[in-house]
Assembly symmetry: C2
Homo-oligomer: 195 residues x 2
DNA sequence: CGATTAACTTGATTTAGGTCAGGACAGTGA
DNA sequence: TCACTGTCCTGACCTAAATCAAGTTAATCG
């Protein structure tokens, strides 16, 4: 199944290790393919995030809704990224986040208990986890710094240079929210940066 | 050496596993105790972060300096926390951060290469790493959300409830910077929250 | 296809928080 | 002892970005 081929490639590439036939069988047995239509929710606020998903195709946003009904995008995710509220997933607490498909999606999903098994039995899988957690640590450190010490404009420039494809792929108001800006402000920044 | 006792306790507690005598010997052989005086730097911007440090005693701040000479505190660290710019530490790139002792400190430090060895040979150590990276992921997710969707006042309330001891331990201008505020603003928030 | 809804732009106004400036108290050190 | 430096407070002013409002363009769907 082509879904899994992309997934296997990803694991092998990022971990720098090969998956055996047994490894692949184990993964195929416990990662369930799931389709989500645009606007469908992978996770709803208040629910426990029972599944972690690997995005084979499509994109999603992770967001909160505050008391005034204002939506706040924390994360935009595309192919070869993982989808979960890790706090809820690890601790089994109700999530404060929503995760919603922005395009039709194909996801491979599994549970916390099964992930533990993969980590125990598949060397490439646990190597992958280490690399991901390193990357995540680094990326978050950068994003925190940007959030606090950059202006709106600098954050936008930063996004352009780090994730240029986001601009084509996501509506501008999502990008604005992801940058912590109102849609109006982003529109004005873009207008000014043209001249 | 009492330094190491606290360190061993920490590893065993957080990992849920015991350290053997051999494990302890290995750790003692490759974690070097180091003293830092108040104001001394553990890491300077531009240098590669060759060491990771475990704080046995004292506290530190991780900060950047922007073009205008404005300091920006990203992290405040106390006993039983780790000290490093992980991007620089993992990738061996020059760091954009400074790490400075805010009090006299005792640190146990080691290198990236040695950490790899510990992970390979000491089960409690790699279990610890997994727990830490989970906790870190969760904490960062929260902090990101706070940074983007909370007001100055809410961020301060949040700090009070999560890290009340920070308020006694760190000067107010450090706290302000950590919260992404000017010292004046924090002062005013405190004034208002008294009545 | 036209009808509705969603996405983007632009202007006018407001506001949270920053910046600048002055002063009150420590704590430290020659 | 008294300057010196760092920390905190308070007031006056300013500015980046949010909010409100209205209009335009682009997507979506029956």
């Amino acid at each position: 199944m082509s879904n899994f081929e992309a997934f296997f490639d990803y694991i092998q590439e990022i971990s720098g290790k090969l998956l055996s036939e047994d490894d692949k069988q184990l993964l195929m047995a416990h990662f369930k393919p799931k389709k989500l239509r645009k606007r469908q929710y992978f996770l709803q606020e208040g629910d426990v995030c029972k599944y972690i998903g690997f995005i084979v195709k499509g994109s999603a946003r992770t967001f909160t809704v505050d008391e005034k009904g204002h939506e706040n995008v924390l994360k935009l995710s595309v192919e070869n990224w993982w989808l979960a509220d890790f706090e809820s997933f690890y601790l089994l607490t109700p999530s404060r986040f929503n995760i919603e498909a922005l395009e039709d999606m194909e996801v491979l999903q599994s549970t916390n208990a099964q992930i533990e098994e993969f980590l125990k039995h598949i060397p490439a899988f646990s190597a992958m986890q280490n690399v991901i957690s390193q990357n995540y640590t680094i990326a978050t450190q950068k994003r925190m710094q940007a959030a606090f010490s950059y202006t709106a404009e600098e954050r936008y420039e930063d996004l352009i240079s780090n994730y240029p494809h986001f601009l084509k792929r996501f509506p501008q108001n999502m990008i604005a929210s992801y940058l912590g800006l109102s849609p109006e402000t982003l529109s004005r920044i873009r207008k000014n940066s043209f001249k």
